[in-house]
Amino acid sequence: MQIIEILFRLLVYPGLIFAFLIGSMLYWLYRKVRARFQARRGPPWYQVFADIIKLLSKETIIPNEGKFFFLLAPVLAIIGCLAPIILLPIGSPYATVSFTGDLIVILIFLILSNLALIIAGINSRSPYKTIGAFGEASLMIAYELPLVLSALTAGIYAGNLSAANIVQTQLSKRAFVLHYPLATIAFTLCMLPKMGKRPFDIPEAEHEVITGPLAGYSGALLALFEITSAIKWFVIPGLAVILFFGGSTNIIEFLGKCIGITLILTLIDIHYPRFRIDQSFKFFVKIALPIAIVDFVRVLLGW
């Protein structure tokens, strides 16, 4: 019985289907808000679905060389986005599966979906894909440390590195954004490269490296990457809600908070041009990392 329940939670609610529906609406919200800020009409609400159905209906070209890693990368990307969902307490203070230290598992799975981009990129002789992969690799070195430190700040304050426990602590006291605003800022900044958004979208820049590691993909495999990016719009803002913005007791509140974070990310995305790779690296090492460390030291000292 429990296996059926876990499969239901993984594939239907709040897993694949639910996360994809909500994520594609948040992705559409991002595109629409960006269009309105540029004085455009913007795409209709079904745009993400139309894109994905079209890609699924097209021919999928697979090269003869490096076939294994070419097929592995999109699968890894979608697993890395989907697996954390059963560990996240979405819409209630309890997760489907919860154990001490599941926050670390969530962060590792999220790294997997970025690692998939590197695998897709270096497994090719195309210079665009290789440059995109190296951009992703160097960005990951810069942003993973502040991301993990600020996530650990929330975990250490709650006394237990478990996402469900973090939400319960926040519900009984206050949201961590009020205790640790600097860690929240560092986490929010690290979400941008995690989702491949401006100003840190160097690996997937459309105008410089023609979507980088994704340049060689077509048809159904590209659709898998599109589904991944739609799910990322749900999972990563959802993780921020759980870690810093107080979690939630019902799903409506959770989605409302997700929409708020999506709007913050969209405004940052609209307002800034793309940074160079060295500028991004310096930004994370000189600004995001120190403010994450300040709150990490504060939580260790118990202030």
């Binding site: 595109r31 269009a35 540029q38 004085a39 455009r40 009409r41 913007g42 795409p43 209709p44 079904y46 745009q47 679905f49 139309a50 894109d51 159905i53 079209k54 209906s57 097209k58 021919e59 999928t60 070209i61 665009y128 459309e206 105008h207 023609i210 979507t211 994704l214 340049a215 060689g216 993909y217 077509s218 048809g219 590209l222």
Partner: protein, 144 residues
């Protein structure tokens, strides 16, 4: 029924790639103008892509020169099916003033199959949009 969904999705999400083939740059500028916020192609689901693997529609401009001929064939083969080719401007259709030049290898429909022609020297952005919309309507009536 699944085919109907696919036809609908292809009509609603045409991703274009711009392939300049040795023209005078006039048509290229008009294509760029059609992509600006004033015309806002994204409301029809159009996105400009840099890789032929992502593209559904190739917008080809210019008389095809001997140098770019092979690359154009290669780009055509790299594009996944179903694909549509639109010839933009008089040069791509007939060769216009370049037709008697020694580098002329075209016109375009002698090298790759063409689905729609947009005449003009250069065609207005409205004309380019009209050509793409008519092509999409024709294809969705045929059920491609």
């Amino acid at each position: 029924m699944p085919l109907k969904v696919a036809t609908w999705a292809r009509k609603k999400s045409p991703w274009i790639m711009h392939v300049p083939c040795g023209g005078c740059n006039g048509c290229d500028i008009e294509i760029v103008a059609a992509l600006t916020p004033y015309y806002d192609l994204e409301r029809f689901g159009v996105l400009q892509k840099g890789s032929p693997r992502h593209a559904d529609i190739l917008l080809v401009t210019g008389p095809v020169t001997t140098q770019i001929q092979e690359s154009l064939k290669r780009i055509y083969d790299l594009t996944p099916n179903p694909k549509m080719i639109v010839a933009i401007g008089n040069c791509a259709i007939t060769g216009e003033i370049f037709a008697e030049g020694y580098t002329f290898a075209g016109p375009l429909d002698r090298i790759i199959p063409v689905d729609a022609y947009v005449p003009g020297c250069p065609p207005k952005p409205e004309a380019i949009l009209d050509g793409i919309v008519k092509l999409l309507q024709k294809n969705s009536e045929k059920g491609i």
